[in-house]
């Protein structure tokens, strides 16, 4: 079982959909130095995050190196119902991508 790149959970709470996601990503700032070689470790971080619901963007985020390693994202949005699907995707500065879906519980 390989490491999942995004873990996503969503549930309805007081009429609002609450989405939580834990993403596996190094989020290297590009400023850290390799202790052995002294060279800078190249920047590798998530740049764009999108969450969609029924074809609509419910969250669009532009991230940078200030976001922590293995970012945890949590947000709420209206207009969803139990059983609907939400999809979250990210792309990073090296062209890496990942996405995951969950049903709102």
């Amino acid at each position: 079982m390989a490491k999942k790149k995004i873990r996503i959970r969503a549930k309805m709470k007081d009429g609002v959909a609450e989405v939580k996601a834990l993403m596996s990503h190094a989020m290297e700032t590009g400023l850290r130095k390799n202790k052995k070689t002294g060279k800078k470790i190249p920047a590798h971080f998530i740049q764009d995050v999108t969450c969609t619901h029924k074809g609509n963007n419910v969250l669009v985020a532009s991230w940078g190196p200030a976001i922590s390693k293995n970012p945890y994202l949590s947000f709420k949005f209206k207009g969803a119902a139990k059983g609907d699907a939400v999809k979250i995707s990210w792309s990073d500065n090296k062209g890496g991508k990942a996405s995951a879906e969950a049903k709102i519980g």
């Binding site: 079982m1 490491k3 999942k4 834990l22 390693k69």
Partner: protein, 278 residues
């Protein structure tokens, strides 16, 4: 008279008032537990495994929120992968442990009468690796915490039940750990007891000091300060540095005996690792 002299000497030597200058580990445990039950009367014994989150509502709310999607999940998954991947010689970790290595965190630490020392789970993991031709893992962070997280996870709910065998060396290891706990050290000249007994529930800067009762239950843990997982002995290192004492080597005699003493003092509380902490 002799006992009075012994206690007086103990207090003189150790600095902090030992709760446990009693005659036996069982009596020590009773006194230790009794102190915390009295200091925190609204906390049930089994809830002490939640540490600070059992004694402060605000922290607990934050903790419950993060537990809905805990950062240690990644470590558990990685650890499970590692646990199930065979070594180069074809054997797996399961072959080194009772019950195939599942639900056995409570078997550690224990006093190994053959080796004549305390053996912790981390040491056992490395013993397993070296026995099967693999390189040992570092003891404080990284892969060791991943496999430790998985093994802790499968043991959740079991009750801490460290035994001290009827062996002079085992008793000596326990007493050594106890002495470490109550000894002042570092530029700040403080012992573990000063913070975690005398000041349990009080603030040190912006953190609340947790009671030692229940401390070993939730390791390895994801600490927000580290932004990563760490073992219990990684925390010992940090604590010693925080009183500006030179830390001891992870999995050396000092910290292993301390872990032995501390885990025994938490007998009766549940294993609930891996955990999330500040």
């Amino acid at each position: 008279m002799k006992k009075l002299l012994l206690i007086a000497t103990a207090i003189g030597v150790l600095g902090a008032t030992p709760l446990v200058s009693q005659a036996s580990p069982e009596a020590d445990l009773k006194a230790f537990r009794g102190y915390y039950m009295e200091r925190f009367p609204n906390v049930a014994l089994e809830d002490f495994s939640d540490g600070v989150y059992a004694i402060d509502k605000n922290s607990r709310d934050n903790w419950e929120a993060i537990e809905e999607f805990p950062p240690y999940e990644i470590a558990i998954e990685t650890g499970e992968d590692m646990f199930n991947t065979p070594f180069k010689n074809g054997k797996t970790y399961a072959s080194c442990f009772r019950n195939g290595g599942i639900g056995i965190k409570g078997d550690f630490p224990y006093f190994d009468t053959d080796k004549g020392k305390v053996v912790t789970l981390e040491q056992a993991i490395n013993n397993c690796r070296t026995k099967n031709g693999e390189k040992p893992l570092k003891y404080k962070k990284g892969k060791m915490t991943a496999i430790g997280a998985y093994m802790a996870f499968t043991s959740r709910g079991n009750i801490i039940n460290v035994k001290i065998p009827n062996d002079k060396r085992a008793r000596a290891a326990y007493e050594d750990g106890k002495k470490f706990y109550y000894t002042r050290r570092g530029q700040l000249n403080m012992s573990c007891a000063h913070c975690h007994i005398d000041n349990a529930g009080n603030y040190v800067r912006s953190n609340i000091l947790g009671p030692s009762l229940g401390h070993p239950s939730h390791w390895p843990a994801y600490r927000a300060k580290w932004g990563a997982m760490g073992t219990l002995q990684r925390r010992f290192t940090g604590c010693n540095k925080q009183v500006r004492a030179k830390p001891f080597k992870a999995q050396g005699t000092e910290y292993s005996n301390l872990e032995y003493f501390l885990t025994y003092m938490s007998n009766g509380t549940p294993w609930n690792g891996p955990g999330v902490r500040m």
